[in-house]
Subunit: 131 residues, 2 copies
DNA sequence: TTAACTGTATTGCAGTAGTAATGCAGTCAT
DNA sequence: ATGACTGCATTACTACTGCAATACAGTTAA
């Protein structure tokens, strides 16, 4: 199933690599449930044309997303959103999340925010990304 | 004031650049209150010898930390932990934290964790980094 | 002043990241 | 079988990153 109105955008001179901007957007859509198992994404050529970039750049993003388990790809067909496949126990997965959490927390403290104020940011982010 | 027992460590082949590993450690110590305004850090040569790396690598880490406002440096003297200087309103600073929070949240969702489980990770991280 | 400490600027170099042009290869409707 | 669509591998080039060797420059106490 092709989702009609998914629009992506990249900012080539933002410092963040194009392929990564694209990855993040797809990943957020999947994590947030806007894209679910079975949905297809625009072809590399389509997406490349839309964004005005080389198709290999798009391909690279897709490839990395497959490596992470977000997408499944097959030559001649297209890119499809993969089935969610949680690996390991809950606490193991929580452990994996820890470094990112630490990074954010340290940054928050360094901004002079109180723990409760930092927590509020996390809560807000959770609400907005809620599936 | 020199803190006697601060020990740093780097893992050169971890993929994370040495200077960044060092930055993160110092930054975490400052954010967590283990290093406060006025404390001095080991000299670049000292630190370089301890870690077994080039002193320019240490210097680079220190330089970046100064750019971020964590340290103050002056030639001939040494590196000193700067005064905390929160900029902008609370909500402005919370806004700055938002991208990092989003990144962590998306990752958590992608790991198949429930919002409450993600929040638990954040709380745990906050406790451990508490000033 | 000088010794012994501080950090810095310059330069070089190897490795990698990011992007792209182009041709190859699988799939499917006709 | 063929055309039109899929994604992929190869190659190449640029720019940047990370690290280091070395020489320079400020500070302070004797």
């Amino acid at each position: 199933m092709q989702k009609p109105s998914l629009t992506f955008s990249v900012h080539p001179s933002s410092g963040v690599p194009i392929y990564r901007q694209l990855m993040d957007q797809v990943q957020a859509l999947v994590a947030g449930g806007k894209l679910v198992h079975g949905d297809t994404l625009p072809s590399v050529r389509q997406m490349a044309a839309d964004l005005g970039v080389n198709m290999m750049t798009v391909s690279k993003a897709y490839a990395k997303l497959e490596a992470v388990g977000v997408l499944e790809r097959s030559r001649g067909k297209g890119m499809v959103v993969g089935a969610p496949r949680p690996e390991g126990s809950i606490s193991q997965r929580q452990e994996q999340l820890r470094p990112l959490a630490d990074q954010a927390v340290v940054r928050g403290l360094q901004l002079g925010l109180k723990p409760s104020q930092i927590l509020d940011v996390f809560k807000a982010s959770l609400e907005e990304n809620q599936p």
